[in-house]
């Protein structure tokens, strides 16, 4: 397989509402910043991959309208949409397209403008003969799985609150992040409004408007476009059965993420994840999920996630800083969120993370999470 690398990134300032920009203009801002970052003219892009969950904007085939914003006119352009994993899966599609030799430079752009529609309704078109009869939403489904996870693994509300605090404090150092709360405390999270027992307002991700782009290049181009490219060491996807009730103890088991990680670690020669990774950007729509992912990703043994966060080992100064960007808990334009994970992991490898840079990153992890338990795992490295 031809080696491929992420050579540039660009993103918008994410916010509750970006009424100042139309969808194509929002996409253009992220795409334009990524091209400037690589010093590329639009003509140098061979193909474009777009990620977006179109029902949130009431669209069909959104690439038709926003494609021009992604410099896709007159170029091959495909759209990927797999719920929360849309962005990471679009990046993986870009990796494969470059690795194939068909294209040398591919631009991947993810975007969402939740403010233009109604996110709950956009997610409500579930199986009309089954789960459409119950109003649980992503929030309710998480809360259900969390009750099982807490009972089985001894995780507490305070453990989750620590994750929420870490995310928003980290986000304060990220100029693109939506929720930036440098002074947030565990007490504040635990006192925030209850949404679905035990999940509180500050445990949940926001709904954001935003876009994020990466430039993917083949081995013969990467070095010329970036001083320190973020090489793709592994990119693995695993999908799961369709109904929440199909998945046994979802957060606790998370067999898709476990299997995707196992395969990715094999490809990238990761033996001791907590030590081998220098940074991780993982897709955590709710504070509790980050704890579950620690276990599924092998950062700790099952049942040890609470102690991992308690000991501060995933804080910026810890052994493995998780989500220096602030993560999905601080910024969630769904179609962009997976691209943001890969872009942020790439920035860390490039050493261009600004105030949120972790020193000396050689190997970085990015994950995507979507629908009930779909998983993407991407490993990036400096060599």
């Amino acid at each position: 397989m031809r080696r491929v690398a992420v050579v540039a990134t660009g993103q918008t300032e994410h916010a509750r509402s970006r009424d100042d920009l139309s969808q194509p203009e929002l996409v253009r801002q992220a795409a334009g910043r990524a091209l400037s970052d690589a010093g590329l003219e639009p003509d140098a892009v061979d193909a474009v991959v777009i990620s977006n969950m179109e029902l949130f904007e009431g669209r069909a085939l959104p690439e038709l309208w926003v494609g021009e914003g992604a410099f896709a006119s007159g170029k091959p352009c495909l759209k990927v949409a797999t719920g929360g994993t849309s962005g990471t899966s679009a990046c993986i599609a870009g990796f494969h397209q470059v690795a194939s030799g068909l294209f040398d430079v591919v631009l991947v752009v993810g975007f969402e403008k939740h403010s233009e529609g109604h996110t709950q309704t956009g997610m409500a078109l579930t199986d009309p003969f089954w789960d459409r009869a119950v109003a649980s939403g992503a929030l309710g489904n998480f809360a259900l799985s969390i009750s099982q996870y807490m009972a089985e693994r001894g995780v507490t509300e305070e453990h989750a609150a620590r994750v929420a605090v870490k995310a928003r404090r980290n986000a304060a150092r990220n100029p693109h992040a939506h929720l930036r709360m440098p002074d947030i405390t565990v007490e504040e999270v635990l006192a925030s409004r209850i949404l679905a027992h035990p999940v509180r307002m500050l445990d949940m991700c926001p709904q954001s408007d935003g876009a994020c782009a990466i430039v993917v290049a083949g081995e013969d181009r990467a070095a010329g476009l970036c001083e320190r490219p973020a090489w793709v060491k592994a990119a693995v996807t695993r999908h799961e059965q369709p109904y929440i009730g199909d998945i046994d103890r979802r957060l606790a088991s998370m067999r898709t993420l476990r299997e995707a990680a196992r395969r990715a670690y094999e490809l990238a020669d990761i033996r001791e994840p907590l030590g081998d990774f220098d940074v991780a950007e993982i897709y955590e729509p709710v504070s509790y999920s980050e704890l579950a992912w620690y276990e599924a990703l092998g950062f700790c043994e099952d049942g040890e996630a609470g102690r991992l966060i308690e000991a501060g080992r995933t804080e910026m100064e810890g052994d493995l800083p998780v989500n220096p960007s602030g993560g999905v808990l601080s910024t969630n334009p769904v179609g962009a969120s997976g691209v943001i994970r890969v872009a942020e992991a790439a920035l860390q490898v490039m050493g261009r993370g600004g105030e949120r840079q972790v020193p000396g990153v050689e190997t970085a992890l990015a994950t995507g999470y979507g629908v009930y338990a779909w998983a993407d795992v991407v490993v990036l490295g400096s060599a």
């Binding site: 409500a124 199986d127 309710g140 259900l144 799985s145 009750s147 369709p242 199909d246």
Partner: protein, 150 residues
């Protein structure tokens, strides 16, 4: 540009969904307060909702097995943020209890409403039973909610 204009457009779309033959048979059972699952020949897993294929074994499903209208609570929550009902578009009045219920005779769980909404009175492993509506229509909301058996 100081002024940011927005263009309002109302979406009102409908679709005609086909249930598939397994779901059709399942729905006919609901009209008689009967619940049935499809059992996989390969792994023995008894599936709700019924479907054409076991995704794990990738084998067609054909063997129907009876399922009780009561079972064990495997997971629960109390919703405080009202979620829109996908059928009516209206928010359901909060707070309300929800659970994942493993019905006796099935291996997958059903997500549904609970009559209990006090977190202090809910626990994994509790026994629950379906409360059916009077006028059965052959849909999952023929079950109004599950009552906690104490």
């Amino acid at each position: 540009m100081s002024e940011h204009l927005t263009v309002p457009i109302e979406m009102a779309l409908t679709w005609r969904y086909a249930s598939g033959s397994a779901m059709e048979r399942f729905a006919a059972g609901l009209r008689e307060r009967r619940i049935a699952a499809l059992r996989c020949d390969g792994c023995g897993r008894r599936y709700l909702p019924p479907r054409p294929l076991c995704g794990n074994c990738r084998l067609p499903l054909a063997e129907w097995v009876p399922v009780a209208d009561e079972g064990a609570l495997e997971a629960w929550t109390v919703m405080h943020l009202p979620i829109l009902d996908g059928r009516t578009g209206e928010p359901r009045e909060a707070p309300y209890g929800m659970g994942l219920i493993r019905l006796d005779g099935a291996d997958t769980t059903v997500n549904h409403y609970l009559d209990e909404r006090d977190p202090e009175r809910l626990a994994i492993g509790m026994r629950v039973r379906a409360v059916w509506r009077g006028d059965l229509r052959g849909a999952m909301d023929d079950i109004l909610h599950f009552e906690v058996l104490r």
